[in-house]
């Protein structure tokens, strides 16, 4: 674990030294903020209207109408942005031949994989926390329920963890960062849309596809529910990705 932290710390240093982190975070925050403002002003407009028609006010809920869609949109932006963050992990090490330094050090392969995952995860967490200003602002002007906000953050983090896990795995497959990013994006997007097949498939297959969909499990977190099946899905997804990454790196040595 200590070794993983040493590796993660170095990776974090290189994130903060390079422009990638700043560019990606800035773009993430700009897009997210724009969407958030739009959601908020739509909610604002509806609130005004409900002032005229009393009975409409019952349906207005800031958690459901502002926070939930904000998280959902954040999930989409993360899908686009996480591949950029994870693509360097192993691809760059292999390209610049620094991976041999790690391999010849008294560090286990799984500690290296964990360190890389940790570094990307911390960067993504930092980005998500920065976006939290928007919800903090809501607490200043209104009284949202804090429960779904916290579970929402947890859900988004877990979902981001899945993307990162795919990203780290993709990065272990190649020396080329762009290839790694494209694989990550493609696979993540596929896991996102896989649930769409549920409507046309028969009920058993449909259920499986629905369960496999990465976004399906986020919904309950956003509503304030922590279900074991959702937790199990995300955690096993992450662990499986890291496992594949470990196997890939190990088998590379034999080729």
């Amino acid at each position: 674990m200590k070794n993983s932290w040493i590796i993660a710390k170095r990776d974090l240093g290189s994130f903060f030294n390079s422009p990638i982190f700043y560019v990606v975070t800035t773009i993430f925050l700009i897009i997210y903020s724009y969407i958030f403002i739009n959601i908020l002003s739509f909610f604002n407009m509806q609130s005004m209207q409900s002032g005229q028609f009393q009975q409409m006010g019952m349906a207005l809920n800031i958690n459901e109408m502002v926070i939930e869609p904000s998280f959902q949109n954040m999930a989409v932006i993360l899908l686009l942005i996480i591949p950029i963050i994870t693509m360097r992990s192993f691809a760059e090490e292999k390209k610049s031949k620094t991976f041999r330094l790690l391999l010849s050090s008294p560090v286990q392969l799984k500690e290296i994989v964990l360190g890389k995952f940790l570094a990307c995860m911390l960067v993504v967490t930092l980005m998500i926390l920065m976006s939290g200003y928007s919800i903090g602002f809501l607490f200043m002007i209104a009284e949202p329920d804090i429960g779904p906000v916290l579970t929402g953050f947890l859900g988004v983090l877990l979902m981001a963890g899945c993307y990162v896990s795919v990203g780290v795995f993709a990065s272990s497959l190649t020396e080329n960062q762009i290839v790694a990013a494209v694989i990550t994006f493609g696979f993540s997007l596929f896991m996102w849309v896989i649930g769409w097949g549920a409507q046309s498939a028969d009920s058993a297959t449909g259920q499986v596809l629905q369960y496999l969909s990465i976004i399906e499990h986020l919904d309950r977190f956003l509503k304030g529910m922590i279900e074991t099946s959702d937790l199990a899905y995300y955690l096993s997804f992450i662990i499986f990705g890291l496992f594949l990454c470990h196997r890939t790196l190990d088998s590379n040595r034999w080729r």
Partner: protein, 311 residues
């Protein structure tokens, strides 16, 4: 200390090294010599636990490089062909990272880094970014990285490749200093380097060991004929003929000014005869000496001998 037995490694179907065996004792400085692509790096990669062997075994201090690699990795320092530097890191930070990852105790990291900075003369560049350093300094940072945890064994893959002559001399001197305290395995395709640093040479060619011996042993065992150099003052036309007429002389070729290179059979008292002849004819001997084979000759001879039957 290091025992390598029947080591074989394939990349796909290509055989990189084939059935290599050798032993290295503690405190030795051993040179791997061979042309590019001979399997030097592969052998070193296997010893440093980066690659597994296809068959055979390599053991260091009784630990197997595959089964117990973590134990071995604590006591080796490895400098690959390209120094493994993160181009965006400051030299000191990079060395601290290497020390940490190589298992140096957190409290001793600073002092270890100071020590290698001193030893490798990196003080002037310690606050610069590794990616911006000259090749010579990068190589030195690479060397510093390999010895930051004070390993028993240093494995250096072509440490002087791509450096200018002055840098080569500096690195060489550094390695010679290190030889006092460490077991060193060094690879090179540059021959004078090996002669200057190493006590023993393992010559690898096309994945197989062509010879393992001390330098003097190699020179002696390979010499099937002796070579003498004769320098005289008064050159006449028929000197070469007269020398060739002597018993056991195989060939005579003119060298530099007033110099003749005489190729002759082994263990003859030819020197006496040549001296006598020179005195009789009043050639005026300036110098008569045996010419020992350089490593270059040995190398060419070994690698050519290998190739000839194949062709």
């Amino acid at each position: 200390m290091i025992e390598v037995e029947n080591l074989t490694r394939y990349y796909g179907t290509r055989c990189a090294i084939n059935n290599i065996s050798f032993q290295i004792e503690k405190g030795e400085v051993v040179g791997f010599l061979g042309p590019n692509g001979a399997g030097k790096s592969t052998t070193m990669n296997i010893i440093s636990c980066i690659l597994p062997a296809s068959s055979g075994s390599a053991k260091i201090n009784g630990f197997d490089t595959f089964e117990q690699s973590l134990e071995i990795r604590k006591i080796i320092g490895y400098l690959p062909e390209t120094p493994p530097l993160y181009p965006d890191m400051i030299v000191t930070d990079f060395l601290k990272f290497s020390a940490g990852i190589r298992g140096v105790d957190a409290k001793q990291i600073s002092s270890s880094v100071m020590r290698v900075i001193e030893k490798c003369a990196l003080k002037d560049v310690s606050h610069r970014i590794t990616g911006r350093l000259s090749k010579g300094y990068q190589q030195r940072v690479g060397l510093a990285q390999a010895m930051v945890h004070d390993p028993e064994i240093l494995i250096l893959d072509e440490p002087t490749v791509g450096l200018d002559p002055i840098q080569i001399i500096e690195i060489r001197k550094l390695i010679q200093d290190l030889a006092a305290e460490h077991t060193i395995i060094l690879s090179s395709h540059i021959l004078p380097e090996i002669t200057q640093i190493c006590k023993r040479v393992i010559i690898i060619n096309e994945g197989e060991i062509a010879a393992v011996d001390s330098l003097s042993g190699l020179t002696a065992s390979l010499r099937k004929s002796e070579r003498l150099s004769l320098t005289i003052r008064n050159v006449e036309n028929d000197i070469a003929e007269k020398l060739s007429a002597l018993d056991q002389v195989l060939s005579v070729s003119p060298g530099e000014e007033n110099q003749f290179l005489i190729e002759c059979g082994l263990r003859t008292n030819l020197q006496d005869d040549i001296a006598k002849l020179a005195l009789d004819k009043k050639w005026g001997i300036v110098e008569l000496k045996p010419v020992s084979m350089t490593l270059e000759d040995i190398f060419l001879k070994l690698t050519l001998e290998e190739k000839e039957p194949a062709a």
